[in-house]
């Protein structure tokens, strides 16, 4: 009998769904990183907490679809605020991101603390969206999260050509007539979707790591976009499964931090050991060049001599 058979059905469904979320977050996150918009996901994710709490306050319901709908609206509101601040105040990207991130997260924490201080009935458990807690997921919710993740991956695959073009050279894309702002908004909205879908697993503070760390780690191993997407998805999947397993084994351990730590471990391996781009490979190459210069055997590379 396999060990998996000993686990309850719900645990298996949740684990599979979180794995799908991790995969999709890694894939979608690649274009955030390649377009140099990695921090956009951060602003969106911190805004989600206020959305979760507001959705509960407004509807009195605490089912996952309601709360995540609130999170999505808040994420978009945060992103709209980001665009508005940049556009109308000439504040730079990093500062605008910090403002939106700080203010929206402060609002979320204030709402959450206000709820618990007043002992509002049924508010318990909302704080799980802070750090992520997959054990609380029902299998129906988990399947819905996996479905949205699959749709996000499908969209990226469909628009792979357009997304790559805009991420690499937006000026050329615009000159060719592609609607660059529209594609940018679609990309950011997709990141927001993944941030919201990843919320139950990783929590508002850490979910952004799911859309940033796997793509950065994947870039170490490959020089092409499609393999990078596939690898980032796989790394995200592995990290998500690692987080779920750890929090299933250790009671009360939130899933978010373990997912992020698992992702960080994968990143560390990629950083040190990747061929060519890895730290060790670069060191070896530099030493090799130094040795050849000392020995006088280094000749200019032919294609570089060709200019």
């Amino acid at each position: 009998m396999s060990p998996a058979a000993a686990l309850p059905y719900n645990t298996l469904v949740v684990a599979a769904a979180v794995a799908a979320v991790g995969f999709a977050a890694g894939v979608v996150g690649c274009f955030g990183v390649l377009r140099r918009r990695a921090l956009v996901g951060d602003a969106a994710s911190h805004a989600t907490l206020a959305g979760v709490v507001s959705a509960f306050l407004l509807t009195g319901r605490r089912d996952l679809p309601t709360l995540l709908a609130g999170a999505f609206v808040a994420a978009l509101a945060g992103l709209a605020a980001l665009v508005a601040i940049r556009r109308f105040t000439r504040t730079r990207d990093d500062a605008a991101t910090a403002i939106v991130l700080g203010v929206s997260f402060g609002l979320g924490i204030a709402l959450l603390s206000g709820l618990s201080a007043r002992g509002v009935a049924g508010a318990g458990g909302l704080e799980q969206f802070l750090m992520g807690h997959t054990a609380a997921l029902t299998s129906a919710d988990a399947i819905a999260l996996a479905g949205v993740s699959a749709a996000a991956v499908l969209v990226v695959w469909l628009a792979l050509k357009e997304a790559t073009l805009v991420a690499f050279d937006p000026a050329f894309a615009a000159a060719c007539g592609w609607p660059v702002p529209l594609l940018d908004y679609a990309l950011v909205a997709l990141v927001a979707v993944m941030v919201v879908v990843g919320l139950p697993a990783a929590g508002a503070v850490l979910v952004t790591a799911l859309v940033v760390i796997p793509p950065v780690a994947a870039r170490q191993w490959t020089d092409r976009v499609a393999p990078m997407l596939l690898l980032a998805g796989t790394l995200g999947l592995v990290a998500a499964l690692g987080g779920v397993a750890a929090s299933a084994l250790v009671p009360r351990l939130p899933t978010g931090p373990t997912i992020v730590l698992a992702a960080a471990a994968l990143f560390a391996v990629s950083f040190f050991f990747a061929p060519e781009r890895g730290w060790l490979a670069r060191r070896r190459m530099l030493r090799d060049v130094a040795r050849r210069i000392a020995a006088g055997t280094l000749t200019p590379d032919e294609d570089h001599a060709d200019g």
Binding site: R36, F172, D303
Partner: protein, 258 residues
Amino acid sequence: MSAVGAPALELHDVTVAYGRRPVLWNVDLTVTAPGLFGIIGPNGAGKSTLLKAALGLVPLAGGSVRLFGRPLAAVRERIGYVPQRETVDWDFPVSVMDVVLMGTYARLGWFRRPGVAERETARAALERVGLADLAGRQIGRLSGGQQQRVFLARALAQAADLYFLDEPMAGVDVRSQERIFGVLDDLRRQGRLVIVVHHDLRTAADWFDGVALVDMRLVAAGPTATVLTPENLRRTYAGHLDVLDELGRAVQRGGRTS
């Protein structure tokens, strides 16, 4: 269909401002195909902005642009563009072939992937710039001149009638410069109009049939021999750098360019 006999490029009274600062002021410029046409002026004179205005990449504060007698949106497929090399991240995970294929994307339209015909177009473009054997290489592992030729190959893959190139010779070794110039010369002979933002006065006289001297305003435009006069150059560079100094340094550079 373009209006018969309409000039390839027509800027009428074009004014562009970044914030409150005007960078181009009442520029009137008409250029007809075929030809190799240089846009020349000091740093910050608005040369690149002029290209971007023609391509619809910056909003016009005033004036209008017509290409082949029609608005840009109607003739986009006939326009090729080579942006400045520093505007993109060369560490981006794409190969030389991937970048050149991007020139075929507009014709492909939404969601369709490049196929055999597009790869053939891209390969032919790479042959023309002499980079066919580097098609599979990641673009960061090229020299500056090779990177510039990749951008040129991408523009060739656009199969356009009117090309805009923004500083294609900046930071490029002599061999690549000659190769690039050879390709542009071929385009001219095939009846195309090639508009080049250029910073090197010394080579300008050799390369271009016509030039426009720009220093926020259009100082002069027309056939190279009649426009590149000491008096016009002095007026173009007056507020920036002594033109004699600039020319002197250009001569000192000899075969090299910065």
